[in-house]
């Protein structure tokens, strides 16, 4: 007799639908699992055997073949145990599994017949709904995670027997109480950092608001102790909140990659700050099959690279594709995958190797050292950075004439500006100014006569390259949006030029 059950296997960030087919026929007793199963799946035979017997059922002493289709997808992990066991029971006629066709089963079996949690629940729940299945049966400890997906019937099953009851049309076990102490993967309300903590540096704070408003990548440059890291850490507090889809994506990535248990969706954008010794594989992923990098973990959030000049050249080069396309395509001999990686890049650096350039003659670096430093920073990565924010020590000491703005105030301005951008650009499939291409810029960032003249002068003086001109235009557009204006004025262009990243040609310095 033949029975079919639905399950899912996880590969990196992706889930694959697996149909479990079990055939039980007369013959010498044997239990074979076929279909590119890894060790954990093959060991399932012993677990299933014991669990079935210890649950009070009979393990058929016949020839059992379990096939995991499709046959060319490698199956990993113990999450398939429950589905195979239920299919065996159905195929041997011990269960009337009419609901096997509409309920996905996900969990590892204990020898006593208990159901254990397998990681990646949120992803599986999402895939279950996408596959058009009505319900998902899984361990009670992860039921709350699965319930985060709307429109999915979640049945908690503590034992194999409970799963059988669910398949025969009964109810699942009662859900445990949600654990209020389990935080969301990212939660703004759980932290107390606020833009108001930043003293002085009014210019840098304003630049950060501009960066957040247009989702521009930004580089913070300044002597040690000027508050670069402090500012960067606060950028998530002024970014717009995650939409539900984004929140599910973020939560899914983190529950899969970090194996953390979650009961609620992420409430803030991820902020990833990898150390500067991180390798290219660490940043973009691909070290092992299914292993993703920091850029993927920063998806929908912020990737902060402190001490940018200390990162290895290859690591920085590897960031080009994700910065350009919003995804990373990884191809290795054994596997290939495309992962989402749309993030805002924030980087911090010292202006020179000793860090004190521009600080009243304290810098002791030679020309050659500075040239080397600038060369490490320049090039393809800096080409994708729209804003350069210079911080000075004097700026950090002084209290500004204006009161510091709080994250809430800044966020309101950012939200306003984002709304304006979305309204203008949504027809073109773009949502923020930072992603406007040359054609959209011509259309939406038209300058008045004086602005045109300033742009031309900047190009003639060699202050801007063609790419630099586009970056300055995007920033000018965002500044106008923050002001609530339709047109980009000359003064917006001026402010954008003051925040430009490019150096004068041959100057060899980051200024």
């Amino acid at each position: 007799m033949l029975a079919r059950a639905h399950a899912f296997t996880i590969e990196g960030l992706h889930t694959r639908h697996v149909t479990v087919e079990v055939d039980v026929r007369p013959g010498l007793p044997a239990f074979t699992i076929v279909g590119l199963a890894d060790t954990a799946v093959r060991e399932a035979r012993e677990r299933i055997n014991a669990a079935i017997r210890n649950s009070g059922y009979e393990f058929p002493a016949r020839r059992i073949t379990a096939n995991l289709a499709p046959g060319d997808v490698p199956k990993a992990g113990p999450g398939l145990d429950l589905a195979i066991a239920c299919a065996v029971l159905a195929a041997s006629g011990q269960v009337h599994g009419e609901r096997l066709a509409s309920v996905a089963l996900f969990g590892e079996l204990a020898l006593d017949g208990g159901v254990r949690a397998a990681h990646g629940t949120l992803a599986v729940a999402q895939a279950t709904r996408a596959a058009g299945l009505a319900g998902l049966a899984l361990s009670p400890s992860r039921a709350h995670e699965a319930k985060l997906i709307d429109g999915l019937e979640v049945a908690a099953v503590e034992k194999l027997r409970s799963a059988v009851r669910v398949l025969e049309g009964g109810a699942g076990d009662p859900l445990p109480r949600a654990n209020p102490d389990l935080p969301a993967v990212y939660d703004a309300s759980a932290t107390t950092i606020d833009l108001r903590d930043v003293r002085g540096q009014a210019h840098a704070v304003e630049a950060l608001v501009i960066a957040a408003a247009g989702a521009h990548n930004a580089l913070l440059s300044g002597a040690p102790g000027t508050g670069k890291t402090m500012l960067a850490q606060r950028v998530c507090s002024i970014l717009p909140p995650l939409s539900t889809d984004e929140a599910i994506e973020v939560t899914r990535i983190h529950s899969l990659m970090l194996g953390t248990r979650v009961e609620q969706l992420a409430r803030a954008r991820p902020f990833r700050a990898p150390h500067h010794t991180t390798t290219a594989a660490g940043l973009v992923g691909g070290a092992r099959r299914g292993c993703v990098g920091e850029v993927v973990l920063a998806h929908n959030g912020v990737l902060f690279l402190d001490e940018l000049s200390e990162f290895s050249r290859s690591a920085l080069e590897a960031l080009r594709q994700p910065l350009e396309d919003g995804c990373v395509a990884i191809a290795r001999a054994s596997h290939s995958a495309v992962y989402p990686a749309r993030f805002m890049l924030l980087a911090a650096t010292n202006p020179c190797p000793c860090g004190y350039a521009g600080e009243l003659e304290r810098c002791g670096c030679s020309e050659a050292q500075r040239a080397r430093h600038a060369r490490r920073l320049s090039g393809p990565l800096l080409d994708r950075v729209d804003l350069l924010v210079n911080l000075t020590r004097a700026g950090a000491h002084s209290t500004s004439a204006t009161a510091p703005i709080s994250s809430a105030q800044a966020r309101d301005r950012v939200l306003d500006a984002r709304e304006r951008q979305a309204h203008r650009l949504s027809a073109q499939g773009v949502s923020v100014n930072a992603h406007m291409d040359a054609r959209l810029l011509r259309e939406h960032a038209r300058l008045d006569e004086k602005g045109e003249e300033m742009m031309r002068a900047a190009c003639e003086r060699g202050l801007l390259s063609v790419r630099g001109e586009h970056r300055a235009l995007r920033v000018a557009r965002t500044i106008a949006d923050l002001r609530g204006a339709q047109r980009v004025r000359a003064r917006d262009v001026g402010a954008a030029l003051a925040l430009r990243t490019s150096t004068a040609p041959g100057h060899g310095r980051l200024a």
Binding site: A357, G358, G364, S366, A371, L388, S400
Partner: protein, 385 residues
């Protein structure tokens, strides 16, 4: 000496080429002696035989043998460079009169051009190898103004003030003489080769060593004496009060050149050397006009005719808002933050700074600080309203 002139290589006679070869061969001992600057300068002034005796060490006999059998064909020759020795009537007169000056020069860019540049009034620009933005911008502006008024700018090939001077002069379309510390084909750093090529098209670069020999540290000290010897006025733009930064000024004093210095902040270590020179009686230099007046002191009528260049924006009056902003930057509020602290709106400050930068009145320096363009151009571009 007609007998030796028969063996000329591009116009230099064998004894002078031999001197150049000897210095390169004694590079090791000279490097050792360079720890004592005065000893090095003294050694550079001694005759060949004495020099071998003084520092030849164990290689004395070998060197004497090679010296006796020296032939000009054994020297590496490089394309584009011309040799010029003191027996040539075109050799710069200033070097003939100075004791210890090099006896021959390899010239990149043409001997004729060197003659032309050395017959015009010449000014040496000296200073620190790690200047501040202020120093760099001042040197650049001085060179720009001076070369636009037809004065030859002479400088070394070290980082900092020297390179800024060459760049400034080239910006004005002028010509400079660069005194290299290495042979012409062995100049370091390599990243400056492009600048050297640009310089050689407009002005010229000279070196007293054979083309393929590196000069090391002693070569740099030796090039300083050539720089000051070639010039009538030596200007120190920024110097710490250390023996290294002030050595060139000392050489200029010994050669009885006019010494001038650019004043700086009293709190800045980079200006202590120059401020001390001013206190001791060096002439003060604020812009190119000051230098011109120093050069033509004896002949004030010429000073009137030679005017520094006027910038592209000359005559266009600056509006009060930008003028005020420029003055604030000049008095030290040189970041958007510090301007905001003085009560300016941040976006006004940013927009204004950009406008001034686009007019060439400001430039962005280290750490994003703005600095006013050099005195020369600023003085000529801003009407004194």
């Amino acid at each position: 000496m007609p007998s030796t002139r028969a063996a000329d290589v591009n116009g230099a006679c064998v004894p002078c080429l031999r001197r150049s070869w000897l210095l390169a061969s004694l590079s090791g001992p000279l490097e050792y002696c360079a720890r004592d600057r005065e000893r090095l300068q003294a050694l550079l002034a001694v005759e060949d035989a004495e020099l071998i005796d003084a520092i030849g060490g164990r290689r004395r006999a070998e060197l004497r043998g090679e010296y006796a059998s020296f032939g000009a064909h054994s020297l590496h020759r490089c394309a584009g460079a011309q040799a010029l020795c003191r027996h040539d009537p075109r050799y710069p007169r200033a070097l003939l009169d100075a004791t210890g000056a090099p006896r021959m020069l390899n010239v990149l860019g043409g001997a004729e051009r060197l003659v032309e540049l050395c017959s015009a009034p010449a000014v040496a620009i000296l200073g620190s190898r790690r200047p501040s933005d202020y120093g760099r911008e001042t040197a650049r502006g001085l060179a720009r103004g001076l070369s636009a008024s037809g004065v030859s700018v002479i400088a070394g090939w070290q980082d900092g003030i020297a390179i800024a001077s060459h760049e400034g002069a080239l910006e004005a379309g002028g010509a400079t003489v660069a005194v290299l510390s290495d042979g012409i084909e062995a100049t370091t750093p390599v990243r400056r080769r492009a600048l050297l090529g640009r310089l050689a098209r407009a002005g010229c670069a000279v070196s007293e060593l054979p083309c393929d020999r590196a000069g090391r540290r002693w070569g740099q000290l030796a090039s300083e004496r050539t720089v000051v010897a070639l010039a009538a006025v030596a200007i120190v733009v920024e110097a710490e009060q250390t023996a290294g930064d002030l050595a060139a000024a000392g050489l200029a004093e010994a050669l009885e050149r006019t010494i001038a210095a650019v004043p700086g902040r009293v709190t800045s270590p980079l200006s202590r050397g120059t401020n001390a020179m001013l206190a001791r009686g060096a002439s003060i230099v604020r812009d190119a006009q000051d230098v011109l007046e120093l050069l033509y002191e004896a002949d004030p009528s010429r000073a009137r005719t030679a005017k520094p260049e006027s910038g592209p924006a000359a005559g266009a009056p600056l509006d009060a808002r930008l003028q005020g902003l420029l003055e604030r930057v000049g008095t030290g509020s040189d970041t958007p933050d510090s301007l905001a602290r003085e009560g300016l709106r941040l976006d006004d400050a940013l927009a204004g700074l950009s406008e001034l930068e686009l007019m060439g009145l400001l430039s962005r320096g280290d750490g994003g600080r703005y600095l006013p363009a050099s005195p020369t151009s600023a003085a000529t571009r801003i009407p004194n309203s």
